[in-house]
């Protein structure tokens, strides 16, 4: 049990790191992007920079949160 917990902890630290908001935000932005791609709701020429800008926004929020701590 200790091994499983340690193994899980290692992968969490390795992938998610010390701010889970970045991981959650990136996944949410990409999920929204996937929906827009699948439904063909926005042209790809607009969607690509839009998703990129949203990712920059995610980091901005995380940095502001980090600065408050």
């Amino acid at each position: 049990m200790r091994f499983v917990r340690g193994f899980g902890r290692f992968w969490y630290d390795f992938v998610v790191g010390d701010d889970w908001r970045i991981a959650a935000g990136v996944v949410l932005v990409l999920a929204a992007g996937a929906v827009l791609v699948a439904t063909d709701a926005v042209s790809h020429g607009v969607l690509v920079p839009l998703v990129g800008a949203a990712i920059v926004g995610v980091v901005g929020v995380s940095i502001v949160q980090g600065a408050r701590r």
Partner: protein, 257 residues
């Protein structure tokens, strides 16, 4: 892949690997000095074998995933990984997070090594072996992750591996000659550069990989194709620079305003 992209790829693999190797070297040197070189070096050798096993399993397994799915999954992981580095680098540069200090880490590891009890297993000083093994394996795993993901996504594993190999020769060579931690390496600056490069490639590939959801599963195209990479790098660098300036003036931190 264009020459510019290939150069970015080698540079990213080189810098990321160098940072991880400097950290592993600090741990191994501290263990060697306090607990003896035999156990420390056997720990390094065991970790190297374990890493080779990870590469042997992970590498071929990843090639089975279709390229667009791979770009999305690996791009996302790389992006999360890179953004964490970038976030920490911005907070460090703004003076809101402590800087990494290899001399300090070396002193802490030396103290831990001297304070630990003597326990022998398989003819080895077990503390020395385990600390050395863990240090090299965990830092090495990050290198393996970066080299494999970069290499497969860019369809140029040799270029990524070359970047890591150059870093290995350089760091280990200097470490073997100096016999002390590489405190002179501007590690925080290098980490900043690595954060920028990982975020750039991660954004590029993750967004391209969204094409897996499109009809025909074609990759999404960035405007200008590979030429978008330097533009993305400039965007991330501009964002980080602005964030540091605003944080220093207290404008991004309502608590400090």
């Amino acid at each position: 892949m264009s020459t510019t992209s290939a150069l970015f790829l080698v540079l990213a693999a080189f810098l990321a690997s160098a940072v991880e190797m400097v950290e592993a070297l600090t741990i191994v040197l501290a263990v060697g000095v306090t607990r003896g070189w035999r156990s420390a070096l056997i720990g390094v050798a065991a970790a190297t074998v374990a890493l080779a096993a990870v590469v042997a399993v992970l590498g071929p397994a990843l090639t089975l995933i279709p390229i667009n799915g791979l770009r999305l999954v690996v791009g996302t992981l790389l992006l999360i990984f890179g953004l964490q580095w970038l976030r920490k680098a911005v907070l460090r540069s703004a003076g809101l997070k402590a800087h990494n200090d290899e001399d300090e880490t070396f002193r802490e590891e030396i103290e831990a090594g001297r304070g630990a009890g003597e326990q022998r297993r398989l003819g080895l000083d077990w503390f020395g072996f385990v600390v050395s093994f863990k240090g090299v394996f965990l830092e090495g795993l990050e290198i393996v992750f970066i080299v494999i993901t970069f290499g497969l996504n860019a369809d140029d594993v040799p270029a990524a591996a070359a970047g890591a190999a150059i870093a290995g020769v350089l760091v280990l060579g200097i470490g073997a000659i100096a016999h002390r931690p590489l405190a002179g390496v501007p590690q925080n600056t290098v980490k900043f550069a690595v954060g920028l490069l990982l975020s750039t490639f991660g954004t590029f590939w993750a967004v391209e990989g969204l094409g897996v959801f499109a009809e025909g599963s074609e990759s999404l195209e960035w405007p200008g194709g590979d030429a978008a990479l330097p533009v993305l790098l400039a965007v991330w660098a501009g964002f980080a620079w602005s964030a540091i300036r605003l944080l220093r003036r207290g404008r991004l931190d309502p608590a400090g305003a």
